[in-house]
Each structure stands twice: as structure tokens, then as C-alpha cells.
């Protein structure tokens, strides 16, 4: 029998740390705090270096803190990150997601980022190199030397990913990661290359997506996983290892693809992983390294609001791949993780369903993160560990974010 409203609101008799107030997923005020206190302080993957292989190549990045960023490879092969905003009148400098400034643009010369509005020009390091009719208009009050772009901290590493941090006082990337990617360091030793990119925009909170990546209890959703993973003893030996900073690793396992009709046994491996093995690290606040030999997938969650998330999905192979090896990796990646794959649409439907069900914050008084299985694969420690870090940065208790204040509609 269904419960009454009063029964439904009654909190279960569980440790408060195992119960989450859903308003942390639905409150616009909390989301603004997250933008400022989490995303503007975090190292985030903006792209992969193979997306801008040549000097003067650029890539744009929609930063979750609400910032537009340009990444440009300069003539010395260094990758520079700057805000995509002209210091003159605040216009967007680069409109396309990727390309090259090597050639001239309609508004300016080669090897320059030229604002199409009034032709202010900047080099690949962000230095202002030309202000049209500067002396005539500004006399000596404005000098190009004083009007470079706003630089953003950038590091390239851990498989050639391009990481940015809006906080000029941020710790190093290595310090931020807390050893989490070192745990799968063997898998990131060879130069990688992106072969797949697509996005999904889902009406739900970004944490819902990262939660899905941070627990494997939802394997019940996937026929594919039930057959290739859960049927095999090694599955239940996988465990979560947590790292300082809210990051978590899931230890690897051997998959039995041949158990799944239509999937041949995997012969092609990955550096540091044999054929059919699987390694995964979830990084706070919304990145997942997911290597399921022979292919790698990287998720980056970009919240567009408290109830909308854009997830970027990249597929990667080795730069040294032969055409035959690359074809195998692409086929394998997309049969599971592509937009027409067997797993990814199901995961996204889970986030969509949560986003829709929790869209009225008064409907669900609590949700559970209460599975305790000794940190093994169906334990929900990954999500709880995330929220411990979240609480440190946001300053709210996920179980009681308003300090026992009445719910909004009560």
C-alpha cells in the first residue's frame, strides 16, 4: 500500500550521512554557490591536446562557472588559455568551437585573434598586438600593452588532457588530483588521440550525472552489464578507493564480452590494461576517466543551470594506432558508449528521470545513498565521498542544507 503524505515525509531511521536532501540538486541558490566555490576553484578538462595538434590551432570551452574560454596553441607548441572576451567592448573573440588562427580572418591578419567587432587583435599568448587607430582615438590614454586578454591557469597532462583552473591561487593539478589518476597512471603513458565527440543536454542536475558514474548499483539498468559483468565473480571483487579531494577509483576487472551475444572476445588491449579489462576514476566535481580496453571514454559534466547539464563525451585511442586498431577501438567504443550504443542512452535516461521526478523539490523529502558493502562495487561510498568534499567547499550539510529550516513549500 502506498504511504500517506505524512509517512512519505518521515525520514528513515538511518545515519544522516546516508540520507541526502534533494534540494542540493534543485536549488538555484545552491547552484550559484557551487559555481563560485567549486567550479571556479577546480581543475577541469577543457579538451584534449589532439583537438588542437598544430601551432595556432584553437579550441573553445564553455566553463561551468559561466565563463567562455579560448585555448590556443602558440608557435612554441605551448597551449595558452584565456577568457574569450575582448577587453574593448566585451565581445566574444572566437565564435567557432575549433579551428586555426594561422591564416588571416576577415577582420585581421594571420596568427592573430582579431575581434570581428572593432578589429582589436591579440596573439596566441593573449597579448594585445593591435588597436586600430589607437593614437587618434585614445591619444596616450590607452596602450595596447595594457590590454592583453585575461589569462587562465592551464596544464597539460595525465594522458594529454588540457586542464584549466579559474583560480590563480589554485594548487597544482597534481596536488588537486590527490593521487587519484596516479592509480591508473599506467593507462595514460602513451600519447592519445580523440576520435569521438558528442554532447548530451539533459534536464537534470550535474551531480545526478556524476552520481551515475559514481555507483555501479545501477548496473541493473543495463542488460549488457548484467550479462558481461554481473554474471562473473570478479565483478563483486571490484571496490571503491577514495582519494583526497572527492575523487574515487573503481578497481579494474576482466570483462567477459564473449558472454554477450553479438560481441566477439576482445583481443586488443590498452597500455597498462589487458584485453577486456576495465579501469575507472571519478574526479570531483564532474569528470570520469573510463577505460574499457580497447577504448577510452572521458566524460566532462558542464552544468548549464541547477536543472540542466551538458555532458561532453570523448572517445580516445592511441596516437600510434594502425588504421585497423583504430577501427576496432571506434567500433567497440560506439557499440557501448556512442549515441546509438547499448549503455550510454540508458544512463542518460536515468539522469533525465531523476531530473524530472525531482523538478518539484517538495515531492521527495530525501533520497538514499545508504548502501554499505565494505566499499565493494555496489557500495555507494563514491557518492558519499563526493558529498564530503562538496560539504567542505559549499559549507552546507547535504543531509540538512538549510539547518532544519522548513521545506520551501511547507
Amino acid at each position: 500500500m502506498a504511504r500517506t503524505a505524512e509517512e512519505w515525509r518521515q525520514r528513515p531511521n538511518l545515519d544522516p550521512n546516508l540520507i541526502v536532501d534533494p534540494r542540493i540538486y534543485t536549488d538555484p541558490e545552491i547552484f550559484r554557490e557551487e559555481q563560485e566555490r567549486i567550479f571556479d576553484k577546480s581543475w577541469l578538462v577543457a579538451c584534449h591536446e589532439s583537438e588542437m595538434p598544430e601551432p595556432y590551432d584553437f579550441r573553445t570551452y564553455q566553463h561551468p562557472g559561466g565563463h567562455n574560454i579560448i585555448l590556443v596553441r602558440d608557435e612554441n607548441n605551448n597551449i595558452n588559455a584565456m577568457l574569450n572576451i575582448c577587453p574593448h567592448r566585451g565581445n566574444l573573440l572566437i565564435y567557432e568551437p575549433s579551428g586555426s588562427i594561422k591564416g588571416a580572418s576577415p577582420s585581421g591578419g594571420p596568427k592573430r585573434i582579431t575581434c570581428l567587432f572593432h578589429a582589436w587583435a591579440f596573439d596566441a599568448t593573449g597579448e594585445c598586438v593591435d588597436i586600430p587607430r589607437c593614437a587618434e582615438g585614445y591619444q596616450d590614454r590607452v596602450k595596447k600593452e595594457d590590454y592583453g586578454l585575461r589569462g587562465v591557469k592551464v596544464e597539460v597532462g595525465y594522458g594529454g588532457f588540457v586542464w584549466v583552473n579559474m583560480d590563480e591561487n589554485a594548487p597544482t593539478l597534481k596536488g588537486w588530483l590527490g593521487g587519484s589518476l596516479d592509480a591508473i597512471g599506467d593507462t595514460l603513458t602513451e600519447p592519445l588521440e580523440v576520435f569521438h565527440y558528442h554532447r548530451a543536454v539533459i534536464d537534470g542536475n550535474y551531480k545526478m550525472w556524476h552520481d551515475t558514474n559514481s555507483e555501479f548499483y545501477h548496473d541493473y539498468m543495463h542488460y549488457h552489464n548484467r550479462i558481461t559483468g554481473m554474471m562473473h565473480p570478479g565483478y563483486w571483487d571490484r571496490e571503491y578507493r577514495t582519494f583526497e579531494g572527492g575523487h574515487a577509483q573503481v578497481t579494474d576487472m576482466q570483462l567477459k564480452y564473449e558472454s554477450f551475444k553479438g560481441h566477439e572476445k576482445r583481443e586488443l588491449g590498452w597500455p597498462g590494461l589487458g584485453a577486456g579489462r576495465w579501469a575507472l576514476v571519478d574526479l570531483f566535481p564532474g569528470i570520469t576517466f573510463n577505460i574499457r580496453a580497447p577504448a577510452m571514454r572521458l566524460d566532462t559534466a558542464i552544468p548549464l543551470g541547477h536543472n540542466k547539464v551538458l555532458v561532453e563525451f570523448r572517445g580516445l585511442g592511441l596516437k600510434s594506432d594502425t588504421p585497423e586498431e583504430r577501427a576496432i577501438r571506434i567500433r567497440d567504443h560506439n557499440s557501448i558508449w556512442g549515441p546509438f550504443g547499448r549503455n550510454l542512452p540508458e544512463d542518460l535516461l536515468g539522469t533525465y528521470g531523476q531530473g524530472r521526478a525531482l523538478s518539484d523539490p517538495t515531492d521527495a523529502p530525501y533520497i538514499l545513498q545508504a548502501r554499505l558493502e565494505g566499499n565493494k562495487i555496489h557500495d555507494e561510498v563514491g557518492m558519499r565521498h563526493f558529498l564530503e568534499r562538496w560539504q567542505e567547499l559549499v559549507g552546507r550539510d547535504p543531509s540538512d542544507p538549510y539547518h532544519n529550516q522548513p521545506r520551501a513549500a511547507e
Partner: protein, 157 residues
């Protein structure tokens, strides 16, 4: 072979039938339109990474496996409708087959309320064996212009 009115009509009809059977999720009827050597692919160019991508690639057997397993999978149940406009029917010299290029529009009709949405646009390039009593699909490449498909979709276009 010479592309006569009858040849073009037969090619158009088999492509339309392939769309209808997929729309109706009558996968057995869809596969009956395909030759044993059938090859299927969905490809799309990404301006973000400036690469051509293959999002799905199946031969006849793997396509059959994919379709056979659909009842066991959780998926988006909102139905889609494939609409094609045939643009060109050509034939290579000396072969009893034609190549057909069509524009493709995929609409999704929401189960809850019936709103129709444009889900995807692209093109079909089909190679069709015309040598037998019935035309058979030898190859279909779906070249998508759309790249944003929400949560994605379990059934090929």
C-alpha cells in the same frame, strides 16, 4: 543498368519500406529487405574535434543481434518517424545495382501529449541490389548533420 522509371520506383519503394518497418519496430521485416552482405553505418562530422566519426557500424548479423536484443533493454519509448526525400538514383556501369541518395528527417513524437519534434536530419546513401525478384539493401550509410540527440537512441536510423 539503365535507371528506368520502374527501377527508380522499385528503389524508392524499398527505401520507404525500410523506413516504415523500422518506424513500426518490425525488425524482421526490415531485415528481410536487406541482403546477407548488408553493411550499415552512421557517420557524422564533428566541427569540435574536426574529425569524421563513425557512430555505429554493423553488418547483417550484428544488426540482427542488436535488433533482437532491444526488448531486453531499457530505452526511450517515444517513437520516431523517418521521412525521406529521394534526390538521386544512379547506377554503376555493368552492375545490377543502384545507388540512391536521399535527404532524411527523423521526427520524434512524444508519447505524453503527442508533440512532434525534429529529432535529427541527415542523408541516406543506399546501395541496392536490383538483380533478383525483390530489391535488396546492400549498404546504407546514414550521414547525419545533427549531432545532438539528447540521451541518444537505441534503434538505428
Amino acid at each position: 543498368m539503365k535507371v528506368t522509371y520502374e527501377v527508380e520506383k522499385a528503389a524508392r519503394e524499398v527505401i520507404s519500406a525500410s523506413c516504415d518497418t523500422m518506424d513500426q519496430e518490425d525488425f524482421g521485416a526490415y531485415l528481410a529487405l536487406c541482403a546477407p552482405e548488408f553493411q550499415y553505418a552512421i557517420r557524422v562530422y564533428s566541427p569540435e574535434i574536426r574529425r569524421d566519426m563513425t557512430w555505429l557500424e554493423k553488418d547483417y548479423e550484428h544488426m540482427k543481434t542488436l535488433l533482437d536484443l532491444l526488448p531486453k533493454q531499457n530505452r526511450d519509448r517515444n517513437p520516431i518517424k523517418r521521412h525521406i526525400s529521394v534526390r538521386e538514383v544512379t547506377s554503376a556501369n555493368g552492375k545490377d545495382e543502384v545507388t540512391v541518395r536521399s535527404d532524411l528527417q527523423v521526427y520524434r513524437v512524444l508519447l505524453d501529449g503527442g508533440e512532434a519534434q525534429v529529432f535529427a536530419i541527415g542523408k541516406y546513401t543506399d546501395r541496392i541490389d536490383m538483380s533478383g525478384d525483390e530489391p535488396k539493401l546492400l549498404e546504407r550509410e546514414v550521414r547525419l548533420d545533427s549531432r545532438s540527440l539528447g540521451a541518444g537512441y537505441h534503434i538505428p536510423f
